[in-house]
Amino acid sequence: MMHTSRFVLVLALVAGCADSADRPARWSYIHAAIIEPSCTTAGCHSALTAIAGVNLSERQGAYTILTGRLCEEPPSSIEAPRNYVTPFSAETSKLYHQLVGENTDVMPPDSPLPDAEIELVARWIDEGARCD
């Protein structure tokens, strides 16, 4: 019972601290917190199905597919070969347009991401889309 009470109290406290700014716009977090649970479900961009040839299941591989770069390479403002992510410019990145569903099919197609998740991805792109 005491554990339950503490759990509820923690929930109440964290729910009261509505602040998205402290969430890191880092690829390691974005992949683990957003890309993997939302995009790599088994019927979509998983290693097995890799719809449209896009496998986002591994952190470094997903980064390369989305940005056209290896993790070790520094970001540049040049448009990425796969054209999913243009570092420093979410507005011109295909990934961002797919997440918001502007002029293209929205992704994920069955349940788009909540706005706060999309904003974090956009912030990561605008800050250079580093593989950090």
């Binding site: 759990f7 923690v10 929930l11 964290v14 729910a15 601290c17 509505a18 602040d19 998205s20 402290d22 969430r23 890191p24 880092r26 390691s28 977090y29 992949h31 683990a32 917190a33 957003i34 993997e36 649970p37 479900t41 088994a42 019927g43 998983s46 290693a47 097995l48 199905t49 719809i51 449209a52 040839g53 299941s57 952190r59 569903g101 502007e102 099919d105 929205v106 197609p109 069955d110 349940s111 788009p112 991401l113 909540p114 706005d115 706060a116 998740e117």
Partner: protein, 370 residues
């Protein structure tokens, strides 16, 4: 208007699956999933009682037996086939998509006696877009397990299957399935044991990721789940507690949840609800600890024999600190004209907050099984 035709070889593919109809538990008499299904989790192959019910109670008639009763397999063998196709339309931001795609082709095989059995579910997984893999690479077995079962229903099983957890809706896009590791093709490997008693049941499962890629997809985590359900009020109500702990190379997730089921005999309405809270911590200090919430609440009613209407709400909050969520409201119309056949019209509106930018999906599914 844009037409998106998802085709796979021979117009067959698997993007969905046929799970149990949890609306039928308590409301139709059976007090547990395994009353109608061979699997203790429900879903998939129907047993003799389930096939009888399909023809005599749920649909408007017909013979629910395999091949409509034209051939009876030997007693050590049970067979079944599930097929689904879908036609639908999506609206979002004044854009419309028309969808037409095969959803499911699964074959079920259960071989063995009353106590020991081998259970297999095999079919074709989806390959909707180019480059499409070869047909043989698209064969997938979502379930294959060996099970020992006692007359009471208590069991031990090992192999590939979903652990018993939550409301096992036939809709794999329900938020409590989609976001909690129970999406299509995400069955892990594991061992499980369950106890079935008159007024309660308990299940414990341990799971690991697939051992080799050839065996299909699945979640990456390893961990355990536990589910305890108690029925009361003359089996018109049930309440369950559940938990799941999963470890992967990127995170650790601990979830705790409750499930409620209530059949209201007077109104003849079935209520189902589930609420889960997930504590997710990230490896390598990738990010701060976060709490997530997934919830479902629905009601259904058989307005006439073979005609069921329902409504449900879904909620998903990936991080409770930022109060950003996805919500959905849906209505369902399911028509069972004869045993083996179902027409299901699902209409779902999804959005965030005040639904300023809602999306609408209307999907008509044709479901035929043998």
């Amino acid at each position: 208007m844009r037409l998106i035709l998802f085709c796979v070889v021979a117009l067959l593919g698997v993007t969905g699956r046929a799970d149990a109809y949890p609306q039928f538990q308590l409301s139709m008499g059976p007090d547990r999933c395994s009353a109608c299904h061979f699997s203790p989790a429900g879903g998939g192959l129907l047993n003799d009682y389930g096939r009888d019910e399909a023809g005599s109670t749920i649909s408007r008639g017909g013979d629910g037996r395999f091949l409509h009763g034209a051939w009876t397999p030997p007693s050590w063998l049970q067979l079944g086939v599930d097929t689904r196709g879908a036609l639908g339309v999506k609206y979002r931001k004044e854009e419309r998509e028309v969808l037409a795609f095969p959803m499911q082709l699964d074959v079920y095989v259960r071989a063995g006696g009353e106590r020991i059995s081998f259970n297999l579910t095999a079919g074709l997984r989806g390959g909707a877009r180019s480059p499409r893999p070869a047909l043989v690479e698209r064969l997938a077995s979502r379930e294959h397990y060996l099970m020992y079962q006692r007359e009471s229903g208590s069991y031990v099983r090992a192999g590939r299957f979903f652990p018993i957890h939550g409301i096992r809706s036939q809709d794999h896009t329900a938020y409590v399935r989609r976001y909690l590791g129970f999406h299509t093709l995400e069955e892990p490997y594991g061992v499980a044991a369950g106890i079935m008693e008159t007024s309660w049941e308990a299940h414990l499962s341990a799971f690991v990721p697939r051992p080799v890629d050839l065996l299909g997809s699945g979640i990456k985590a390893k961990g355990i789940t536990a589910y305890y359900e108690r029925r009361f009020l003359d089996d018109t109500a049930a309440f369950a507690l559940q938990t799941k702990l999963g470890f992967s190379s990127t995170d650790t997730r601990l979830s705790a949840g409750v499930v409620g089921k209530r059949w209201m005999p007077g109104a003849e309405v079935m209520l189902l609800a589930e609420l889960d809270v997930v504590r997710q911590s990230f490896a390598d200090s990738a990010g701060p600890l976060r709490y997530q919430l997934a919830a479902y609440a629905g009601a259904s009613k058989m307005v006439a024999r073979g005609v069921m209407v329902g409504a449900a709400v879904h909620r998903w909050q990936p991080d409770l600190r930022v109060r950003s969520s996805r919500d959905a409201f849906e209505v369902n119309l399911q028509y069972f004209p004869v045993a083996h056949l179902e027409l299901h019209l699902l209409t779902r509106v999804g959005g965030e907050g005040d639904f300023e930018d809602p999306g609408l999906l209307s999907l008509l599914q044709l479901h035929y099984y043998l």
